[in-house]
């Protein structure tokens, strides 16, 4: 079965650079979530989208922005990168809402290293 695809899997950037992370949800999933997991930390919710609209926002820095496109893939744009942005970034997707509980399926993550 198709899973959530994230690209790139690894990314190395310098401080103050920008980075774009991409997430391709499972086909027919219309909701995408982004989570950040720092070294030795638990994943923290950043932002989510439902039907291309932002549905919830967590502890996402103002330097970060995200969007969901017409094909439901999502991109997380990160500017003015800081050392503390080094983390594993997970994307998850879920199936159409309104049908009760919807499980979130996680991608393999993108490991961002800021030097």
């Amino acid at each position: 079965a198709a899973g959530v695809i994230q690209s790139p899997r690894h990314l190395i950037k310098e401080k103050r650079e920008t980075a774009t992370l991409k997430c391709y949800p499972i086909p027919r999933h219309d909701t995408v979530y982004w989570y950040q997991q720092g070294p030795g930390q638990d994943p923290q919710f950043l932002i989510s989208f439902y039907e291309k609209m932002q549905s919830d926002k967590g502890s996402i820095p103002d330097r970060f922005s995200a969007q969901q496109f017409s094909d439901y893939h999502s991109e997380l744009n990160m500017s003015s990168l800081e050392l503390g942005d080094s983390a594993l970034y997970f994307c998850a997707s879920s199936s159409p809402q309104g049908l009760g509980y919807n499980e979130q399926f996680f991608g393999p993550g993108t490991r961002l290293t800021v030097l």
Partner: protein, 112 residues
């Protein structure tokens, strides 16, 4: 507000012995509860989920968890640990399609 507390940051067991990873939750409404496992440098894999159906939930790889409302607990158990069970385990709470709120994790070590 929702939150989960994982009572042990590290648990060590011998192979073949039972595993108990403890989790307490706080929620102002009926929550959905999950256990996820993360092996080193890997993604998150769902072990099992509770969504207001049966209180005893069976998951993959022989794991199960029991939802106890009176104790606000959702402990993860396995009768016999395998070496391959060594990983980080996260207890997670959510409300339907809301964001997932993770606990701080429990690192399980399995000794031969």
């Amino acid at each position: 507000a929702q939150s989960v507390t994982q009572l042990d940051s590290h648990v060590s067991v011998s192979e073949g012995t039972p595993v108990l990873l403890r989790c307490n939750y706080s929620s102002s409404y009926s929550p959905s509860l999950f256990w996820y496992v993360q092996h080193p440098n890997k993604g998150l894999q769902l072990l099992l989920k509770y969504t207001s159906a049966a209180t005893l939930v069976k998951g993959i790889n022989g794991f199960e968890a029991e939802f106890k409302k009176s104790e606000t607990s959702f402990h993860l158990t396995k009768p016999s640990a395998h070496m391959s069970d060594a990983a980080e385990y996260f207890c997670v709470v959510s409300r339907n399609t809301d964001k997932l709120i993770f606990g701080t994790g429990t690192r399980l070590q399995v000794f031969p």
